[in-house]
């Protein structure tokens, strides 16, 4: 009799534990509220930003500005994205700008205030800089 009682107790307990295991919420349930809040914030923040100009137009502006001050822009095709290249979602064109250090740096400084230009590796030797960059846009 006691055995039957004990058995029932044990089986009931086991059943409860087993079903509880089955009824666990998926991963991410604990942080869903925070994640949702954060993502809402992200979207709201980004929605406030005006869309960028088209990439092609930005690229042409850079080439034209470089041409104007007499420095050379050579297009480069990035085959594999890495830490030294643009990784975002926008359309991008990359290139190398070559010329006098002061002229190139001044030009880039000015252009970065208006256009989305990301700068990467560079080499300076004998007053000449070779600077990798990526121009992005929609």
């Amino acid at each position: 009799m006691l055995g039957a009682l004990l058995l029932t107790l044990i089986l009931s307990y086991k059943f409860t534990v087993d079903t509880q295991k089955k009824w666990t919420l998926p991963k991410g349930a604990a942080t869903i509220n925070r994640d949702l809040l954060e993502m809402r914030g992200n979207v709201a923040q980004l929605a406030d930003v005006a869309p960028t100009k088209p990439r092609d137009q930005n690229w042409l502006s850079i080439v034209a500005a470089a041409d104007f001050v007499g420095v050379k822009v050579t297009p480069v095709v990035i085959k594999v994205k890495n830490l030294d290249s643009y990784q975002g979602n926008l359309k991008s064109w990359s290139g190398v700008i070559t010329g006098d250090v002061t002229v190139v740096l001044s030009l880039i400084d000015k252009l970065q205030k208006e256009l989305p230009i990301y700068l990467y590796t560079y080499a300076i030797e004998g007053k000449v800089i070779k600077l990798n960059f990526t121009c992005v846009g929609s």
Binding site: M1, A4, L5, T8, L9, S12, F15, T16, T19, Q20, W23, L25, P26, G28, A29, I32, N33, D35, L36, M39, R40, N42, V43, Q45, L46, A47, V49, A50, P51, T52, L83, D84, Y86, Q87, G88, N89, L90, K91, V101, T102, L105, S106, I108, D109, Q112, K113, P116, I117, Y118, L119, Y120, T121, Y122, A123, I124, E125, G126, K127, V136, S138
Partner: protein, 320 residues
């Protein structure tokens, strides 16, 4: 004669009689012969039931023959059965003191208790056996004159019924089985309750889980939608406008200070870069007279053997 037959009338019985229903203490009962001492208990053929355990004064236990109980059940169903000596001892009617004690339950004869010969006849521990006699003699004790025996008062008046009537083996077994069955029914009930409680508890947990799961599902769907929207926004908008004006300013200053400035030879791991997390490493002309670190803020310098200054920009590349 008429007075004797009157005394044996069952309705108005004043004395205990064996084997017919009589009224004791307001209840109709049947008194049967019972047996005190070892004789019946040791009988290998008889089935006997103890109705009164041995007394603390040494009196042996009292038994009733199963057959007697069955016979009374057949004749008087539903009437409680008690043993003669059981009733008498429980009511304190038996006064020991002679070798034989008799209860005259019939017109000619009755029941007797015999003590062990040549012992203390007042000691209940010395009871040898009980039995029935017919006439004026006990069969096994022919020489004993029953007039010398102590006679037990058999008057019904003032008798109390013993706490436990006699039951046959079968009745005792059925009582035991009945008790067992009731206990099992109770246990089964408790088990059923447990199972029910477990079911209800789990059902509630399941409901709670379902509710939470559906809330989570809705939130997850919203999050996924927002993530898609966010990625779409990211393909047309820039989160942070790139701005490298600080390192550009430093580089401009350095190149004006030293026209022979060059970047440190690029290795696989470390080329000068504006990219996030990368560093800027530059070297001045040999034997450069001025420590650029003293002129331009935001850099760290170190002189090497060629008297060049090795320069590192303190700030890592701008945000990408």
């Amino acid at each position: 004669m008429s007075s004797i037959s009157h005394s044996h009338d069952r309705e108005s019985s004043e004395y205990i009689q064996i084997g017919i229903p009589i009224v004791i203490d307001g209840s109709e009962v049947v008194v049967v012969r019972d047996s005190i001492g070892d004789r019946l208990a040791k009988d290998p053929n008889g089935v006997v039931n103890q109705v009164l355990p041995a007394g603390s004064d040494g009196r042996p236990a009292i038994f009733i023959d199963e057959a007697d109980i069955s016979a009374m059940r057949n004749s008087y169903p539903g009437v409680k059965v008690y043993g003669l000596w059981q009733i008498l001892f429980e009511n304190g009617r038996v006064k020991l003191g002679s070798e034989v004690v008799i209860g005259k339950t019939r017109r000619v004869g009755g029941n007797y208790i015999r003590m062990r010969p040549e012992t203390d006849f007042s000691d209940a521990g010395n009871i040898l056996e009980s039995g029935e006699y017919i006439g004026e003699r006990i069969a096994s004790l022919k020489n004993y004159d029953l007039n010398e025996a102590i006679k037990v008062d058999l008057a019904v008046l003032g008798l109390k019924l013993p706490s436990k009537p006699a039951y046959s083996r079968r009745e005792l077994y059925e009582q035991f089985e009945g008790k067992k069955r009731r206990r099992w029914i109770n246990v089964a009930g408790i088990c059923a309750l447990l199972v029910l409680a477990t079911g209800v508890y789990n059902f509630q947990l399941y409901n709670a889980y379902n509710q939470e799961a559906s809330i989570f599902k809705a939130k997850k769907a919203e999050l996924d939608k927002l993530t898609v929207a966010f990625n779409e926004l990211k393909s047309t908008r820039i989160e942070h406008q790139p701005n490298d004006s600080i390192p550009i300013g430093i580089l401009k200053g350095l190149s004006m200070l030293d026209p022979g400035l060059k970047t440190a030879p690029a290795t696989e791991k470390a080329a000068s870069s504006f990219a996030q997390g990368q560093s800027h490493s530059l070297i001045t002309s040999p034997a450069f007279p001025v420590d650029p670190g003293k002129v331009i803020p935001g850099i760290t310098t170190q002189r090497n053997q060629l008297l060049q200054y090795e320069i590192k920009l303190n700030q890592a590349g701008g945000g990408k």
